[in-house]
């Protein structure tokens, strides 16, 4: 089952082992590489009432599936110490955080400010769009090309993106394929 979720919906999900049926952690945050449009991993909190941060991370390669109700891993050997994880997971650069960035078209028009990531889940998760706060107010969703230029303050998207701004995740789901077809990416 493929579905679209925002990063905020993934944060807080339990991380559950397929073989053990145990909730070994919960998602603290999504680590994302904006240049590659790729989810690189998840940071984790401990499970339970007095939960604090867990030092291990979950690289994308170790994710069995992200679903509506849980992130599945085969067993807890998928949880990796930061020093043993790929650099972009173990030591994610803070300037990679696109939340709050201005979305500019190549023509120089602002479509809004990034508020959240939209991920296609079901498998390991692919970032396919952003939730934005429009200049006029209100939220919208934009699809993303496979790669884009990011500075830390702004990101640049093709002009055609403006035609594909949608009101909700369902609309975005339908728009992603059409958008990529227009860009010759599909």
């Amino acid at each position: 089952m493929k579905l679209l979720m925002t990063a905020s919906q993934i944060n807080g999900l339990p991380v559950v082992t397929v073989r053990g049926g145990d909730d070994v952690a919960e998602v603290r945050d999504v680590i994302y590489n904006p240049e590659a449009g790729r989810l690189v991993g998840l940071t984790l909190n401990k499970r339970g009432f007095f939960s604090g941060r867990r030092k291990e991370v979950l690289p994308a390669e170790g994710i069995h599936a992200i679903g509506r109700d849980a992130v599945m891993i085969l067993d807890d050997s998928s949880l990796t110490a930061p020093e043993d994880a790929p650099d972009d997971v173990g030591h994610p650069a803070t300037e990679r955080n696109v939340i709050g960035d201005d979305v500019l078209t190549e023509g120089g028009k602002s479509l809004g400010v990034v508020r959240d990531l939209a991920l296609l889940v079901g498998g390991a998760g692919e970032v396919v769009g952003y939730q934005i706060e429009k200049p006029a107010g209100g939220h919208g969703y934009i699809p993303l090309p496979a790669q884009l230029a990011v500075s830390g303050a702004a990101l640049v998207v093709p002009d055609v993106t403006e035609e594909f701004v949608r009101d909700d995740l369902v609309g975005l789901g339908a728009a992603v394929d059409d958008f990529r077809a227009r860009l010759g990416l599909a």
Partner: protein, 151 residues
């Protein structure tokens, strides 16, 4: 004739040697990898004991018969301690697919009382064949992707 985890809960455990009642079933311990009942948990808390499936002479409809009270043992490892604490009781657990989607809670498990082999898992109105079971633990029972919702 099949039996079920729900039906077996509360059933008495009786010694064949002296006809003494040794306790009542709290829950059954499921071995998800083997898809069978691995033990019967009797009693609660610090008094909880286990009977390995191999020690069950007859899993009857009204009583579970064992040779004598030596069939019961205190938990000997982490898994058995978790079972004695009730953490591994499967009824009421989340029924999660390996895709990370919850399809309900586990309401009952049917099994063959002669062999202990799991037959079916019931989640709400759905009956799921034992072959779909991938794992079971303190949080959830995990079912294969064939049980994922389609939308």
């Amino acid at each position: 004739m099949s039996d079920s985890f729900r039906l077996a809960t509360g059933r008495k455990l009786v010694s064949r040697a002296d006809a003494q009642e040794l306790g009542a079933v709290t829950h059954l311990l499921l071995d998800a990898a083997e898809r069978r009942v691995s033990a019967v948990v009797v009693g609660k808390g610090r008094n909880a004991k286990l009977v390995d499936w191999a020690q069950v002479n007859s899993f009857g409809p009204d009583a579970i018969m064992v040779a004598d009270e030596l069939a019961l043992h205190l938990p000997i490892d982490d898994r058995e301690r978790a079972a004695a604490d009730g953490k591994l009781e499967v009824l009421g657990k989340h029924a999660l697919t390996e895709g990370g989607n919850e399809i309900g809670t586990l309401d009952d498990v049917t099994f063959d009382p002669r062999t202990g082999a799991i037959e079916m898992l019931r989640v709400g109105a759905r009956e799921i064949p034992a072959g779909a079971l991938l794992g079971s633990g303190s949080y959830a029972v995990i079912l294969d992707a064939g049980q994922d919702p389609t939308s």
